[in-house]
């Protein structure tokens, strides 16, 4: 059965993922269903936020797009290339136009390299320009991410704070002028005050370099500032996908509503209308039958256990996989 109602036919679709499946083998002849038949597309210039709890498969999804983690089946089409069937060499060159930044800014930089070496490395690997041109490029990149090249070029990553390291990571990821940037929880290790700086920086870079972003996060409040579309995942499946406005204004999936109501509001007079979900996600080794969210869902019935809900449109451009969507 296909689950493609939400895929768009437009010509400016940059990335199209169909029925992507990623599984891991674990001891005892068992299989972790990390990503189970996920389809989505991203248009040029969009920012798609992928949201869900730990273990929902959002990081694995990000890695599978880049083929860092080989998917078991499914298609990933980027700019007309089918990434899953590219040869090793073709894949390497295709990856120059999709870059990734990681959650932990400090451990994702080599502590023995200077900032100059870190940012220059991609240019050096691909023999872009001569030494002077590369240095100029590194300086421009550092300037653009808000670091003073004169002060940082010859220092090493351990001399910097988390926020500054994330800026260096961003500069490195932009060195090859990619079309798409996959950001895996880029601000969750940072302080709130620094978070805002990095989010604004990503938005600026998006405009300056004409980027398309995939922004992976567990925090719906962070996502609101940066995304144009949101895809909510639960246990390896897509629950809901739609524009940022529609998801926040009218979450149709009970899980989305629960995620939104769990965000702490910095106002002591705010009365919490909490959608009651309790407990934690079940194990992806043995996911529930039918709708995977049914074990924690306040609206679940018999039907949810027997039949898996397909994504269907509830309002313009908003799709939900639920038998009983919220009105």
């Amino acid at each position: 059965m296909t689950n493609h109602a939400h895929l768009r036919k437009d010509s400016d679709v940059l990335l199209r993922v169909e029925d992507l499946v990623v599984e891991f083998k674990v001891p005892g002849n068992k299989v972790v269903n990390a990503v189970s038949s996920v389809s989505f597309d991203v248009k040029e210039g969009e920012t798609l936020a992928v949201v869900g709890e730990s273990g929902c498969g959002k990081t694995t999804l990000g890695k599978a797009l880049l083929q860092i983690q080989k998917p078991k089946s499914g298609n990933v089409r980027f700019e007309g290339n089918e990434l899953t069937s590219l040869s090793k060499n073709d894949l390497r060159s295709a990856r120059t136009s999709i870059q990734m930044i990681f959650q932990d800014p400090i451990s994702s930089l080599d502590p023995r390299m200077t900032v100059r070496q870190i940012v220059e490395e991609p240019l050096w690997i691909w023999s872009k320009g001569d030494e002077n041109e590369r240095l100029e490029k590194v300086k421009t990149l550092l300037n653009n991410v808000g670091l003073d090249p004169e002060l940082v070029l010859d220092r090493k990553s351990y001399e910097f704070s988390g926020g500054q390291c994330q800026r260096i990571s961003i500069a490195r990821s932009l060195a090859l002028e990619p079309k798409m940037l996959i950001c895996d929880e880029p601000v969750s290790a940072l302080d709130v005050s620094i978070q805002a700086q990095i989010l604004n920086l990503l938005n600026d870079m998006k405009d300056r370099y004409g980027l398309t972003l995939i922004f992976i996060s567990h925090d719906l409040s962070v996502v609101k500032a940066i995304s144009t579309r949101i895809m909510v995942m639960y246990l390896g499946k897509v629950c809901e996908i739609g524009t940022t406005e529609s998801i926040y204004a009218k979450p149709a999936h009970h899980y989305t509503a629960a995620l939104i109501s769990s965000v702490p509001v910095p106002d002591p007079t705010h009365k919490v209308e909490r959608t009651p979900i309790t407990g934690e996600p079940p194990s992806p080794v043995d996911p529930p039958s039918g709708c995977r969210f049914r074990t924690r869902c306040p609206a679940a019935t018999e039907l949810c256990a027997t039949e898996e809900p397909m994504l269907r449109e509830v309002s313009d451009g908003q799709f939900v996989a639920c038998h009983y969507p919220r009105a």
Binding site: D191, V192, A196
Partner: protein
């Protein structure tokens, strides 16, 4: 109401190769029995060091602690380490930030839970086992009997944090320090853990100190808030008063930089430019002056003292917000 924990002019210094690092610079804090206070600040503001120093957990040879710490009528700062240790568990307890590393990975949950019950309360094996099942039920862990046999690596972050809470409350402490108890957790689990802590606090009549960098977490779960910056308390007030009437530009800036779920989608977030001042070389004036959009000449040269406004609202600022004094915006 009586005071349970009183800090008077608490100072903590670390000797480092770059010189003396003053992490906490004279904190006065008086926590009343049965209340819940939030300590808020960025990384490096001294909030964790302050709470550990209050409990006497900082014991390295490079640490100097000054000032007076009174807990439940006893002057901890003058007691021997052994005597202070005797207060742990029954007097005060702490929940640490990282539930992944705070538990011993090679001991079963049951034995870690029962340790303090046997040592502190002198329970027999059987009593301790029965009590630990009670505790696991209290922190809402399903099938508590099975849990006793498990190792921490078999549990999720949320479950481990529940275990940490169960251990912390096992000997009915009067005061519970929770140091960023939900920072490492998902939002849905965070909401559950905060609810649990608030519920337990009321049920067991505990006083709670909630240390966090998130003003959102503080808003719904505390009676008082103290905002820390560069090793000092810069603003302190009852929670509703603080949020309604911020006096310190830093608090306001911190508040504004929170990505708020109620804001317009795609809007630009206000940021606090710059960073905390170098703790080995503090500026003479207000520590926030260099990052403050209202700073004036005086702010860079003279250190502001903690002022008292009405309703016990304390602030450390020469030109507080909401004041009638005209301010130029630099």
């Amino acid at each position: 109401m009586s005071s349970i924990l009183k800090l008077e002019n608490l100072k903590v210094r670390f000797s480092t190769h770059r010189g003396q690092l003053e992490a906490v610079r004279g904190v006065d804090l008086d926590i009343q029995v049965g209340t819940s206070i939030g300590i808020v600040g960025e990384s490096g503001s001294g909030k964790t060091v302050m709470s550990r120093a209050a409990m006497g957990l900082l014991t390295g040879s490079n640490v100097t602690r000054e000032g007076r710490v009174t807990f439940d009528g006893k002057v901890l700062s003058e007691m021997s380490r052994e005597d202070v240790r005797n207060e742990f568990g029954t007097g005060m307890a702490m929940i640490f930030q990282d539930p992944m590393t705070a538990l011993n990975p090679v001991r079963r949950i049951g034995s870690q839970l029962q340790e303090s019950l046997r040592v502190r309360l002198g329970m027999s094996r059987k009593e301790a086992r029965a009590r630990s099942i009670e505790l696991l039920t209290l922190v809402r862990i399903p099938e508590p009997k099975h849990m006793l046999r498990k190792f921490p690596s078999q549990l999720s972050g949320g479950m481990r944090q529940r275990i940490m809470i169960a251990i912390a409350i096992s000997c009915n402490p009067k005061l519970l320090f929770a140091d960023e108890p939900t920072t490492a957790l998902d939002v849905t689990v965070q909401a559950q853990i905060l609810e649990l802590l608030t519920d337990l606090r009321k049920r067991l009549n505990m006083t709670m100190v909630l240390v966090t960098h998130d003003l959102g977490v503080v808003a719904g779960n505390t009676d008082y808030v103290a905002v820390m910056y560069a090793g000092e308390i810069v603003e302190q007030a009852p929670t509703t008063e603080l949020f309604a009437n911020m006096k310190m530009p830093y608090t306001e800036a911190l508040f504004k930089s929170i990505p708020n779920i109620q804001m317009k989608a795609g809007s630009r977030l206000p940021v606090i430019e710059g960073r905390l001042p170098d703790p080995t070389d503090r500026p003479p004036g207000c520590g926030f002056a260099a990052r403050c959009s209202y700073a004036q000449d005086k702010c860079f040269t003279e250190h502001p003292e903690l002022e008292v406004a009405k309703d016990g609202h304390l602030y450390r600022c020469w030109f507080p917000l909401g004041d009638s004094v005209p301010r130029k915006v630099s």
